[in-house]
């Protein structure tokens, strides 16, 4: 069975993560003063499906955990519990914990048991410290039983001699296809089973509906049986019966135990929740430390999910468009082949028409295929309300986060690689940008700071802006800091733009003290590197006291690149257009040969190293080896500037990036390959790689 189930694991994980996201955003959107029942319902439904799914796949730890959350949410939903900020925070923490658990299971790594136990305890405390605001009805039996960690101290668990189970199926149990006798048989397999049937509920023969189950049982099964095994047997009927179980201990000395049994004994059987054994609240501190042991026993059931290939969910309408397009293409194709069979010269016009139609369809098809890879940027943006919520409560700031243009679509790869840099930027704005409420009031600004995340298309680019109305960047402070750290010369004259760029230097941080949120001075450096790796660039605009805007410009897709083809002998290479600064013929008197360090040339007061393409790529057919006869292309990549010595520039064109690694391996200095108009292959150059190669 495990093999059959494994193929659905990936889907389960994807759905669960989506569910968690839904829960998170639902929780964040809760207006504590005026709660919309539908909001709570949404959160509850998400939790419920995760519980159901994890139960089905045997991830007991997850379903147990979700169950506690669900109970809390259920009480909120029924209006029996007030929704408080602490409760919401606990739930948010649990969402995180659940996500960690699912990720661990997905990767096949260890679940952090102490973390789980901690969150479970927090949930239980939340459940226990509230008084239900209305009497509980029979339809919601879970709510009335006070919850606790439900963890028995390990030494007691070991002494379990058996279980007493009160099993009262609801009338419709048999209709759901469950058969009590089968479950009893399984129980009997675990240990010695004694059953007592309660016939009280059975009506007179005349009133009896043979499809209903009027019996209830008291089962006594002896043996050292883990609770999980019992749970497993009743897993499918959990919602269709009232179930209570109570362990039988070998010795009965501990006061906690007697309280446990006493607690159960006074409760009507119907009110006790499956799986949960009520115990005194006092025992929870003890149970916390024991939780890992208990859980580790269950661990074996949790099977490592195979690392699934990445997948995307595509809007059905996109697929429909694609199918339409293919249909059109087929029609055009059959028209053309018909034309070809009986071709006469007077049909030339028809042929031309057909061909142009074919061209149009092909192009449209290409566009819609590309479109499939596009995801709305909300995939990245959606995590920020949570971040803002956490950080603002941690720092005591009042912050409003605005998201604009979440539906802007970007290539999937870009979306994935964009999220880390954006987190850095937003964190910076929240932490350094927005001031404390009193400072803001003193500066005549509204108490609540605003951080805006905006995405929009411009030309072939997508622009993402992070704007805050905080204190802005202090140019003088930046400059002083840079001089202090020895990053710039004290005499250096910097433009505003250059000054702001300083914050992208490695090791630069203006925060007076480090916080665990940001300020270590590694962030911005990494941000810029990541953005550049995506083929984009990043800019800062800032006004002291009014706030700053950081904008990221990215190509829409990583699959297509604006390229400049260059010739070196018989070879054609492609340079990313964005990396080229200028190209020039160099005069003899500008050249400088540094002994042992290669050649440099003087460009507006700056010496730039020359990389001879024919040399590092070993092209014997190069037209010239004299620097003055060829062309120098000044390029920049990752802050490195150099001149590439090539034969000639050929032309600009958009190229589709193909992987060289897919069938071969990585070549230093080459980032990929493409196919030119004539069908031949051309290699795309990677500037930092070329520099490394030249330095070897």
């Amino acid at each position: 069975m495990s093999i059959d189930m494994a193929q659905f694991h990936q889907v389960f994980f994807e759905e669960s993560f989506e569910g968690l996201d839904a829960m998170e955003s639902g929780l964040l959107n809760l207006d504590l003063g005026d709660v919309n029942v539908e909001d709570i319902n949404t959160i509850f439904r998400a939790a419920h499906s995760i519980k159901g799914g994890s139960g089905t796949f045997g991830f007991t730890a997850v379903s147990d955990f979700t169950h506690v959350m669900e109970t809390l949410l259920d009480e909120m939903r029924d209006g029996r519990r007030k929704i408080t900020q602490p409760a919401v925070d606990v739930l948010l923490g649990s969402v995180d914990c659940l996500r960690d658990m699912l990720q661990s299971i997905q990767n096949g790594s260890e679940v952090d048991q102490s973390d789980v136990a901690e969150h479970k305890l927090a949930l239980d405390n939340e459940l226990n410290n509230a008084v239900p605001s209305s009497p509980t009805g029979r339809h919601a039996p879970e709510a009335s039983a006070p919850k606790s960690a439900a963890v028995l101290p390990a030494e007691e668990a070991e002494q379990i001699a058996g279980w007493v189970i009160a099993f009262s199926p609801h009338l419709h149990l048999l209709k759901t296809g469950n058969e009590p006798v089968r479950m009893f048989r399984e129980l009997a397999a675990l240990g010695q089973l004694t059953t007592t049937v309660d016939l009280q509920g059975v009506p007179d023969l005349d009133d009896l509906d043979p499809e209903e189950c009027h019996l209830s049982w008291k089962l006594r099964v002896l043996g050292d049986i883990p609770e999980a095994e019992i749970d497993e047997i009743f897993d499918w009927v959990e919602d269709d019966c009232d179930l209570a179980k109570q362990p039988i201990y070998k010795t009965s000395t501990s006061s906690a135990q007697t309280q446990v049994s006493a607690d159960i004994a006074i409760k009507p059987v119907t009110n006790i929740v499956p799986r949960e054994i009520s115990s005194e609240f006092a025992s929870t501190s003890e149970s916390e430390s024991n939780a890992p042991e208990r859980k580790s026993g269950k661990k074996e059931e949790v099977k490592a999910a195979p690392k699934g290939s990445s997948s995307i969910r595509v809007d059905t309408s996109k697929i429909d468009t694609l199918i339409n397009m293919v249909g059109e293409l087929v029609i055009t194709q059959s028209m053309l082949s018909l034309l070809g069979e009986h071709f006469e010269l007077n049909k030339l016009d028809q042929l031309k028409n057909g061909l142009s139609q074919l061209e149009r369809h092909t192009r449209e098809l290409q566009e819609s295929v590309m479109n499939i890879r596009m995801l709305p940027i909300s995939f990245v943006f959606s995590r920020f309300p949570r971040l803002a919520h956490d950080i603002s409560s941690k720092l005591g700031k009042k912050i409003e986060l605005k998201l604009v243009g979440e539906h802007t679509e970007v290539d999937k790869t870009v979306v994935e690689l964009l999220s880390d840099p954006l987190v850095h930027l937003v964190r910076n704005s929240l932490d350094h940008g927005i001031e404390m409420p009193n400072v803001r009031l003193a500066a005549g600004k509204p108490e609540t700071g605003t951080v805006t995340l905006e995405a929009y298309h411009r030309g072939g680019n997508i622009v993402i802006e992070v704007t805050d109305d905080g204190k802005g960047l202090d140019k003088d402070k930046l400059r002083a800091k840079a001089i202090e750290k020895g990053l710039i010369d004290p005499e250096a004259i910097l433009s505003d733009k250059q000054t702001y760029e300083l914050i992208f230097m490695p090791g630069f941080s203006t925060a007076e003290k480090l916080t665990d949120i940001s300020g270590r001075g590694v962030g911005m450096d990494v941000v810029r590197r990541n953005i550049q790796a995506l083929g984009g660039n990043i800019e800062i605009l800032s006004e002291l006291g009014k706030g700053s805007t950081i904008s990221i410009h990215l190509p829409l897709t990583l699959a297509i690149l604006d390229g400049q083809s260059i010739a070196v002998g018989d070879e054609t290479y492609i340079l990313p257009l964005g990396s080229i600064i200028e190209s020039l013929h160099v005069k003899e008197d500008r050249l400088n040969r540094v002994a042992g360090k290669g050649e440099t040339f003087l460009l507006r007061g700056q010496y730039l190293p020359i990389i001879r393409m024919h040399q590092i790529f070993n092209v014997p057919t190069a037209k010239t080896t004299k620097l003055t006869e060829g062309l120098i292309v000044v390029v920049e990549g990752q802050g490195l500037r150099c001149g590439l010595f090539v034969d000639d520039l050929l032309g600009q064109q958009q190229v589709v990036i193909k992987s060289l690694e897919a069938n071969y391996r990585r070549i230093e200095g080459v980032s990929g390959a493409t196919i030119l108009g004539d069908g031949s292959v051309a290699l795309i150059l990677d500037i930092p790689g070329l520099v490394r190669l030249a330095n070897q």
Binding site: T572, I616, F617, V619, L660, Y664, R665, I667, I675, V681
Partner: protein
Amino acid sequence: MTADLESNQHVEQFLTFELEGEAYGIEILKVQEIRGWEPIRKIPNTPDFVKGALNLRGSIVPIVDLRERFQMQKVEYTPVTVVIVMSVNTASGTSVMGIVADAVSDVLDIKLSDIKEAPNLGSRINTQYMRGMFVGKKNMVMLLDVDKLLNPEEFVDIAGLAAIAEGK
């Protein structure tokens, strides 16, 4: 026992081709297509026997010259020179690669039991790339283990070894 017998009786098809007049064979299931030689793009800083990359309907396929790989004499490519495109299992999955051979000859059905262990042929052809030998009616066919022969990681190693040797 029976399983052994069965597997020995099992027949596999091999595509044979010529290099310097000798016959070599590769599993036909690995072969994707056979095409004529056409000029290809050189890949810089790779061993000489990697002639370059070819555009095969949109994917970039590296081409290895087997003569050079086996340190045989280089020859001019002629109209009968062929490129055999194969899918190769590598550590990271499957890659598509091509080999240049003098000519394609035949497809042979070979019983696995008829495959003899490769004799030591000296240093020129490393037997680790051989799957075995098959003695046919007309000639002897050397059966190659394509996965080992066309492992991109090994190309690096060979180049690296050469560099070390030069360094000494």
